[in-house]
């Protein structure tokens, strides 16, 4: 069955006629194409696709969610019945007293000019093959894994709160993993680039140089040492700052965690939680990020200022959690796919730019570390304890205001309530990035996000090493 606004409306009517007080219908269709070369051999050329429907109902303040990939009317009715049966489970259930909404209407497209799915498979295969070989044919490189990824995702959300929204997003990207050996030691470095769109971005991109650069960095890193463990002053580059803000603050500002007491930011609205140089924003559509014009409850995702000049202004919310927190709905209810109910998630989360130039920051700091995002693998936070961590790529010691020797990528850690308060310089060079190969994990779900910011300097961060 074709996924259409008509089908979604029909399903909504059935759910309401079966007794749901309110209902949200989600239709989703996705396509993912990936080509991977591993040490000059094709590891896989895979195309996957999926179509499905999700239905959330509310009965006297209790939600129930079910889904189906089988799109026969019979299977759809079964999913509605399952959702209603769940909403009737009352044992230990949380009851929502009210729901708020800011329903989206209309169609939003962020599609490719040249659909990669229509490009001749041989052209795509040879692009990846060549880049893989370019990265492998370097002294000291023992392994090279090169990927191309392309995703098309179409969504329709219709709700009894008035949402009638449709979107289509195309995302293309490349990645490279290089392993270098130097004597008995080995090091790996990974990096990726992604763009909203399709083949047009690859035509103007030097894939071979991108892959080769990673190999060169891996070869250098294999000869580098790890830093001495301890607490350092550090400048965080525009690539790594996305991980910092996402882990060090983003998750803790998610309204569901705040409402359930699982965030150290609960009760801190109006308080100073960061240096006054810091303004933090979550924005649905922004250059460089992953476009989220509306969320999976069908609410508009606009611009949410979370921290303004150091003061905590608002949390990210869904329609269910907003009234509980006494806030407006910010449109941050997102799900990995129709197989999952929504959680409160970040969209594109970033620190706004400031006044500093990087060379001024370096000169002013004199000694410390310059922490680099290229090669970083990700991060994690325990929002209720208030501790976060993320990895860094090969980075630099800073001595007398200048970049000195390279150090290997390690892990760093800090405290949510201290790290942003310790920011003492914010650059004027904001960058936002997204990735077709990953995203952000929470519960058992992964969603695409964007994150970023300018160069940022912190007075204290814990750096692992041996």
């Amino acid at each position: 069955m074709e996924l259409s606004m008509d089908l979604a409306e029909r399903v909504l009517d059935i759910a309401l006629s079966k007794g749901a007080k309110h209902a949200i219908v989600r239709l989703e269709e996705s396509y993912y194409e990936t080509i991977v070369f591993d040490n000059k051999l094709l590891r896989t050329y895979t195309i996957t696709s999926s179509k499905g429907l999700g239905i959330k109902v509310l009965l006297d303040g209790v939600p129930g969610y079910s889904y189906t990939h089988d799109l026969s009317m019979e299977a759809i009715e079964r999913a509605i019945d399952r959702a209603l049966a769940i909403a009737r489970v009352r044992k230990s259930r949380k009851i929502y007293s009210s729901v708020s909404a800011n329903p989206a209407k209309g169609s939003y497209t962020f599609t490719s000019r040249e659909d990669l799915a229509q490009v001749d498979p041989e052209t795509k295969v040879s692009l990846v093959k060549e880049a893989n070989a370019a990265a492998m044919n370097l002294e000291g490189i023992v392994s090279s894994v090169t990927r191309l990824g392309y995703e098309k995702r179409r969504k329709i959300v219709v709700s009894s709160f008035g949402a009638r929204a449709e979107s289509e997003v195309h995302l293309v990207g490349v990645s490279q993993l290089s392993v270098a050996r130097h004597g008995a030691t080995a090091e790996r470095v990974h990096d990726s680039r992604s763009w909203v769109g399709g083949f047009e971005h690859l035509k103007s991109f030097d894939f071979n140089s991108f892959a080769k650069d990673i190999s060169e960095l891996a070869a250098k890193a294999a000869r580098a040492r790890t830093p001495s463990p301890g607490t350092y002053q550090a400048i965080i580059d525009t690539h790594l700052v996305g991980l910092l803000i996402h882990e060090a603050f983003g998750h803790a500002s998610e309204g569901d965690l705040v409402a359930s007491g699982a965030s150290v930011l609960a009760g801190k609205i109006g308080s100073s939680v960061a240096s006054e140089l810091v303004t933090v924003v979550d924005q649905g559509v922004v250059e460089g990020g992953y476009p989220v014009p509306f969320d999976d409850e069908g609410n508009v995702k606009g611009r949410t200022v979370v921290v303004e000049r150091g003061v905590l202004k608002s949390f990210l919310t869904s329609s269910l959690v907003a009234p509980e927190l006494g806030m407006g709905v910010s449109g941050n209810a997102r799900a990995q796919d129709v197989g999952h109910d929504t959680l409160v998630r970040q969209t594109n989360y970033f620190i706004e730019g400031g006044d500093w130039k990087l060379d001024e920051m370096l000169r002013d700091m004199k000694n410390g570390l310059y922490l680099v995002g290229r090669g970083a693998l990700g991060g994690q936070v325990d929002t209720s304890v208030g501790t976060f961590t993320f990895s860094i790529g090969p980075s630099y010691i800073v001595r007398n205001g200048e970049l000195a020797e390279l150090i290997r990528g390690v892990s760093v850690s800090g405290s949510i309530l201290e790290t942003l308060a310790n920011v003492d310089a914010v650059g004027n060079d904001r960058v936002i990035r997204t990735s077709v190969f990953g995203g952000c994990g929470k519960g058992d779900q992964m969603v695409r996000v964007g994150d970023g910011g300018p160069h940022v300097r912190v007075r204290k961060i814990v750096v692992g090493g041996a």
Binding site: G339, Q380, G443
Partner: protein, 449 residues
């Protein structure tokens, strides 16, 4: 839709199109997921999933396509999609064939009928218990977050080498939760995870009681001075570290492609003689147990490290045939359309003796590590371990003293698990399919204040 019929259709359509070899991998699941907060059971999700992955081979060219099945006619489309990219795939000279050693091993105890019959009831029951128990144990304790998944699922594999499709079914239950206790020193929060195939293997009361106690001890945690410390790893922390650093290093794919530090180390003493690690996909009733792997090869038991000596790598058919060997029943797919790769089935660490408290008694200055974050950011290629302690307790002269958080522990895993491994406990717990006891390691590098 019947998973066996889908598999048979794939084979028929692909044969009609004249491929050399074909394989259908069908996975289905029917279950329920419940999320819990301090206000009660919040979201309950129940649904049925079925997806297929198709691998086709022609002239040593291999391609894959996969999809959720929305209607029977999707099956033909998926086969066509896989065939459409074949021509573009370069010839892989290392290709021998799809797995030929297909069949079943004898396995027991992987289906719990109470879970299979009513996954939602079981999930709601466990969730309610997790929600109510902390408060009943201590009025200052509460559940902060929880996620309970429960259900049954199965896989069907058919290929050019199966006379009829291989079929298996299994039940499972997983629960993750965090509890908090308020004290006059501040709040303490710890989290824990349980996974099993059967309800009788889940002891929620015992688990919650232990975590309430740990949360109380962890209240008001802070970083400690940078330095060298002995570390006592709780069983699941140790299991997670092995999973991140050792599992990928024994994968024959990573060995053959130059990414494993254990390349050329067969027969060598690479870990402490206190460490014997077995991979056993046929062990009764465990989380990773199945009669066949993700290519249809029967699962088996093999010792991977015998008293610290590396005795074998783990193989799927592709990596085994490349060395003229037989696959070890270790093919794992990360999704229906992912190519198989060698991985662990159940990783079993043979325990030592004594409790975690006995290990603590032997430590002069160290950390009892209860919860970590970011251990998965460790680097198996270099063997470099790093994790951040989110909940831990400082140990001074054989006794736990104050709570610790926000310190980064680092080191080379092949030093930490060789000469620096002091002892293993007898208290095996599982983190998913990794079964490990607690461990005491001396002289780890800790970055703190």
């Amino acid at each position: 839709m019947d998973p066996v019929r889908i598999a048979e259709l794939v084979i028929k359509y692909a044969r009609d199109r004249g491929v050399d070899e074909v394989e259908a991998y069908v996975a289905w699941s029917d279950g329920c997921t419940v999320s819990i907060t301090r206000s009660g059971l919040e979201s309950i999700v129940s649904g049925y999933d079925i997806a297929v992955g198709v691998r086709v081979v022609k002239g040593k060219r291999i391609s894959i396509a996969g999809a959720h099945i929305s209607a029977e006619e999707d099956v033909r489309r998926i086969v066509e999609k896989a065939i459409s990219t074949l021509r573009a795939c370069p010839v892989d000279e290392k290709w021998v064939s799809l797995a030929r050693e297909v069949g079943y091993s004898q396995v027991a105890d992987i289906v719990d009928s109470s879970i299979a019959e009513s996954p939602t009831d079981v999930a709601v029951e466990i969730s309610s218990k997790l929600f109510e128990l902390p408060r009943s144990l201590d009025p200052k304790a509460q559940l902060v977050e929880g996620l309970v998944g429960c259900g049954h699922g199965g896989k069907v594999i058919a290929s050019s080498y199966t006379s009829k499709p291989l079929e298996m079914k299994k039940t499972g239950i997983e629960a993750w939760f965090a509890v908090r206790v308020s004290t006059d020193r501040g709040e303490g929060t710890v989290s824990d995870f349980v996974a099993a195939t059967k309800l009788s293997d889940v002891n929620v009361d015992k688990l919650v009681a232990r975590n309430v106690e740990w949360a109380r001890q962890c209240a008001g945690a802070s970083p400690i001075e940078t330095g060298s410390y002995d570390i006592v790893l709780a069983p699941k922390v140790f299991g997670s570290i092995l999973n991140v650093l050792i599992s990928p290093a024994v994968s024959a794919l990573n060995v053959q492609r130059g990414r494993s530090p254990l390349r050329d180390k067969l027969g060598q003493q690479v870990l402490s003689d206190k460490l014997t690690i077995v991979d056993d996909g046929s062990a009764p009733g465990l989380v990773g147990t199945a009669p066949f792997d993700d290519e249809g090869v029967p699962t088996s038991r093999k010792t991977v490290f015998s008293k610290g000596v590396l005795s074998t790598y783990l193989y799927d058919s592709y990596t085994a045939y490349a060395e003229g060997k037989k696959p070890t029943g270790n093919a794992v797919r990360s999704g229906v359309a992912s190519p198989p790769a060698p991985g662990v089935t159940n990783m079993l660490v043979i325990p030592g003796s004594g409790t975690i408290d006995d290990l603590v008694k032997d430590v002069k200055r160290g950390i009892l590590v209860i919860n970590v974050i970011g251990e998965w950011l460790s680097n198996f290629v270099s063997g470099f371990l790093n994790f951040t302690v989110s909940a831990g307790l400082l140990i001074e002269n054989g006794r736990v003293s104050k709570p610790v958080t926000g310190v980064v522990v680092s080191g080379n895993i092949y030093e930490l698990l060789k000469d620096k491994l002091v002892a293993l406990g007898s208290d095996v717990e599982n983190l998913g399919n990794v079964y490990a006891p607690s461990a005491l390691i001396s002289g780890a590098s800790v970055a703190g204040k």
